[in-house]
C-alpha cells in the first residue's frame, strides 16, 4: 500500500471468547489512511465497525494483525509507548449521554485529559486552555460550570470533541459521533468536525451507519459486513459505481428525502448471519442474490479491481 500512509492496518482480527465459541467481530481487515483524510466506515449494527475503531486504538487489543501508526507498530503498545500513542490518537464516542462523567462539570471534564497528560501546569494555565478549547468547539464560556445533564446532546458532544482535542492529536476515531443527535444539531457537529479537520490537518476514521453522513464527510469509504471488508474505494466511486452486491443493496435501501427519485430497491432477504464460529465462505452468501457454490465454501479475497477500488467478491464477473 501507499508509503505516505499515516495509519496502516494489516489483516486486523479481533475475536471475543463467548460461551458458544469465538465471536469473530473483526476478521482480517486491512486498510491505510493518509494524513489529513477521512476514512468512513459504514455497516449495520454488529458488523464490527466499532470494534475495528477500538482495536485500532488498542482499547480492545487485537487478536491478530498489525496496526502501524507513522511507521511504529502500536498493536501491542504498553506503558510509555501507549501513553505517547494516546496523545496522538484519540476517540470521540457515540453517546454523549454515557461517555461523560455525570459528576464532573464542563471545566473538570475538559481539564481532566490536560492534567493526566501533563499538558498544562497549574490552575491558571489549565483554565486558560479549557477556555480556549471551549471556544474552539463552540461552547459558550457561561457553561464552564454546568454539568452534563444540564446540557443538550449537541453541547455534550462538543465536550467530547473538546476532550479529544485537548491532547492535540493527529488522528481521531469518531465512533458514530452524530447518531444520537437530531438532524439540525447533527449538521452543526458535522460542520464543526470538518472545520477542525481543515484547520488542524486531522485524520479521521468516521464510523457510522448513516450513508448520507458518511458521503458528506469522507474521502474514502469502507463498507463492512459481519467483520469483513466488503468494499473500499473513494467516496464518489462508491456511490457511482458500487460493485459488491451488499453495497448495492445497502445503497438502494436508503430512504431519500425527495419525491422525484426513482427507487429501484434491491431486496436483501434475511438478516446478518451470526459472527460466532462463522462458517467458511463469504459472510454475505446467505443473503446474496448472486451466491454460487464457491461463495459458501471459500472466503473471497480482496481484489483491487481499479486503482484504489477494493472489493471482496467471487462473482464480480458474473454480475
Amino acid at each position: 500500500m501507499a508509503n505516505n500512509a499515516q495509519l496502516e492496518v494489516k489483516n486486523l482480527k479481533k475475536y471475543f471468547p463467548v460461551p458458544a465459541g469465538s465471536l469473530h467481530a473483526v476478521d482480517g481487515v486491512s486498510f491505510s489512511i493518509e494524513a489529513g483524510k477521512t476514512l468512513g466506515v459504514v455497516g449495520e449494527s454488529g458488523c464490527g465497525k466499532s470494534t475495528l475503531g477500538r482495536a485500532v486504538l488498542g482499547l480492545n487489543e487485537a487478536t491478530d494483525g498489525q496496526v502501524i501508526f507513522e511507521g511504529k507498530d502500536i498493536t501491542h503498545a504498553r506503558g510509555n509507548a501507549k501513553k505517547d500513542m494516546k496523545k496522538e490518537m484519540q476517540i470521540i464516542f457515540q453517546d454523549p449521554y454515557s461517555s461523560l462523567d455525570s459528576r464532573m462539570n464542563v471545566q473538570q471534564l475538559i481539564s481532566e485529559p490536560l492534567k493526566i497528560n501533563k499538558i498544562t501546569h497549574g490552575k491558571e494555565e489549565t483554565e486558560k486552555k479549557v477556555k480556549e478549547l471551549m471556544d474552539i468547539v463552540g461552547l459558550a464560556s457561561r457553561f464552564r460550570l454546568s454539568y452534563p445533564h444540564e446540557l443538550d446532546g449537541g453541547r455534550r458532544q462538543r465536550i467530547g470533541i473538546a476532550r479529544a482535542l485537548s491532547v492535540e492529536p493527529k488522528f481521531i476515531v469518531c465512533d458514530e459521533p452524530v447518531s444520537a443527535l437530531d438532524v439540525s444539531i447533527q449538521a452543526q457537529i458535522l460542520n464543526l468536525m470538518m472545520d477542525l479537520q481543515e484547520e488542524r490537518g486531522l485524520t479521521y476514521i468516521f464510523i457510522t451507519h448513516n450513508l448520507s453522513v458518511v458521503k458528506h464527510i469522507s474521502d474514502e469509504i469502507m463498507v463492512m459486513y459481519s467483520g469483513t471488508m466488503a468494499e473500499k474505494c473513494s467516496c464518489d466511486e462508491l456511490f457511482e459505481n458500487p460493485l459488491h452486491p451488499y453495497t448495492k443493496g445497502l445503497l438502494s435501501a436508503i430512504p431519500i428525502p425527495s419525491i422525484h427519485v426513482e427507487r429501484n430497491r434491491i431486496h436483501m432477504e434475511g438478516e446478518v448471519t451470526s459472527p460466532i464460529n462463522p462458517k467458511p465462505g463469504c459472510r454475505f452468501a446467505s443473503r446474496c442474490p448472486y451466491a454460487s457454490e464457491k461463495c459458501y465454501s471459500e472466503m473471497p479475497e480482496t481484489r483491487e479491481v481499479k486503482a484504489g477500488h477494493f472489493v471482496a467478491c467471487h462473482n464480480l464477473e458474473a454480475m
Binding site: 459558550a140 443538550d152 439540525s184 450513508l211 435501501a253 430497491r265 438478516e271
Partner: protein, 358 residues
C-alpha cells in the same frame, strides 16, 4: 367525514419543575386508508399526540387542556373506559419505537398475537390461532417460531411480530411511532415495505411518526411538520418537499447531507428548540429563524392557507424560496434579516452557541 379529526388539541404536563407545554393547539385530519406522516425532532410533541389519540396519557402529570379527537364521529377524549378498550387494538392500534420493550418477555409471540384477536373478536382459541398463523405468514415469520419468546428474535423480526400483533384485529387506523428508528437500513427497508403493503391490502389508515424525511417521502401521501408542540406546515408530500413554505422545514432539508450532490458544508439551523417550559410568546421558531422580525417575536402566526390543502404557520411563508441566499461573494451564506446579531463571534454555520441559543 374524516376517519380521525384532531381539533385544537392542547396538552401539557404538570411537573414539579413547572408546566411543560407539549402540544399547543394542533389540528389535523386523517382520511380512511390514508398514510400520513408526522415529522419533527425530539421533543416536538409527536409521541404525545399519538398517545392522546389512544387516550393513553397518564393523568396526572398529563393534562388535556382543550381540544377534541373525533374518531368516526365520536370524541375519544370523552369516551368511557369500556368503550376505549373496544377501540384500542381493534379500531386503532399502535406500533412503538422499540420492539424489545413493547413485547412481553414471558409470553411466546404466538400467544401475544392471539391475545388481541381473542379479546376483540371473541373468536375461539382455534380460530384465533388460525388468524395468528395467517398474520405470521404475512410478516414472513415461519409458523414454527410462534412458540418462541421475544428474546429469541432479532430486532427486525421483533418489529415484524409487533406489526403482526398490531394488524391482527384489522384496525382502521394504525399509529406507527418511529417503527424503524431502532433498525438498520436494510431491515428498515424490509419493515417499511411490509407495513406499506399490509396497510394497502387492508385499507388501514396510518399515522407514521418519524424524524426521517426520507421515510416520509417513501411511505406517505400527506405530512405535517411539528415544532415545539405546533404543526408548522401541513400538506401533501409534493407540497412539503417541492414547495416548502416554512423556514423550519427548509432548515430541516438543509441539514440533511445530500446523496446526489457534494456540498462543502451543511446549513444547519442555529440554536436549539425552545424549552417547552418556557416557550417564546410569538412564533416558536422566531429565535432560530433568519426571517424573524418584530411581528414574529410579538405575535404567534396563524396557520395560513396556501391553497390546495397546504397550510403554513409563518408570517413570511414563501413557497419554494430558499432559506438562505448567497452573500456578495457568492458564498451560500446566511441571509440575516431583522434581528441584529449581538455577538459577532456567532457563526451561523453552526460553530456553536449563537446569541439566541440558551
Amino acid at each position: 367525514m374524516s376517519l380521525l379529526e384532531i381539533k385544537n388539541l392542547e396538552i401539557r404536563f404538570n411537573t414539579d419543575a413547572g408546566v411543560v407545554h407539549a402540544v399547543n393547539g394542533i389540528n389535523l385530519t386523517i382520511e380512511e386508508g390514508e398514510s400520513f406522516g408526522l415529522v419533527g425532532e425530539t421533543g416536538a410533541g409527536k409521541t404525545t399526540t399519538a398517545l392522546a389519540i389512544l387516550n393513553l396519557l397518564q393523568s396526572p402529570p398529563a393534562e388535556i387542556v382543550s381540544g377534541e379527537i373525533i374518531y368516526k364521529g365520536q370524541d375519544i377524549l370523552k369516551m368511557s373506559k369500556n368503550k376505549l378498550r373496544e377501540i384500542r387494538g381493534e379500531e386503532i392500534s399502535m406500533i412503538f419505537q422499540d420492539p424489545m420493550t413493547s413485547l412481553n418477555p414471558v409470553m411466546t409471540i404466538g400467544e401475544q398475537i392471539m391475545e388481541a384477536v381473542k379479546y376483540h373478536s371473541g373468536k375461539s382459541a382455534a380460530d384465533a390461532q388460525l388468524r395468528m398463523l395467517e398474520m405470521l405468514e404475512k410478516v414472513r415469520i415461519p409458523a414454527e417460531r410462534s412458540y418462541d419468546y421475544p428474546h429469541q428474535f432479532s430486532g427486525g423480526m421483533k418489529q415484524r411480530v409487533v406489526i403482526a400483533e398490531a394488524l391482527a384485529a384489522n384496525p382502521a387506523l394504525l399509529l406507527a411511532d418511529e417503527p424503524t428508528t431502532a433498525l438498520d437500513v436494510t431491515i428498515q427497508a424490509q419493515v417499511l415495505d411490509m407495513i406499506s403493503s399490509l396497510q394497502k391490502e387492508n385499507k388501514t389508515a396510518m399515522l407514521l411518526i418519524t424524524h426521517d424525511l426520507g421515510v416520509v417521502a417513501e411511505t406517505c401521501k400527506r405530512a405535517a411538520i411539528m415544532y415545539a408542540g405546533e404543526i408548522v406546515e401541513i400538506g401533501t408530500v409534493e407540497q412539503i418537499f417541492d414547495s416548502t413554505a416554512h423556514p423550519y422545514t427548509k432548515g430541516l432539508f438543509n441539514s440533511i447531507p445530500s446523496l446526489d450532490k457534494k456540498t462543502d458544508r451543511l446549513m444547519p439551523i442555529r440554536g436549539l428548540m425552545p424549552d417547552p417550559m418556557d416557550l417564546p410568546k410569538g412564533c416558536k421558531f422566531a429565535p432560530r429563524c433568519p426571517y424573524a422580525d418584530e411581528s414574529c417575536i410579538n405575535e404567534c402566526p396563524p396557520l395560513k392557507d396556501l391553497g390546495e390543502g397546504h397550510y403554513c404557520k409563518c408570517h413570511h411563508a414563501d413557497k419554494g424560496a430558499p432559506l438562505y441566499f448567497p452573500d456578495e461573494k457568492g458564498n451560500e451564506l446566511a441571509y440575516e434579516h431583522g434581528l441584529p446579531v449581538s455577538n459577532p463571534g456567532n457563526d451561523f454555520l453552526g460553530k456553536g452557541d449563537g446569541p439566541n441559543g440558551k
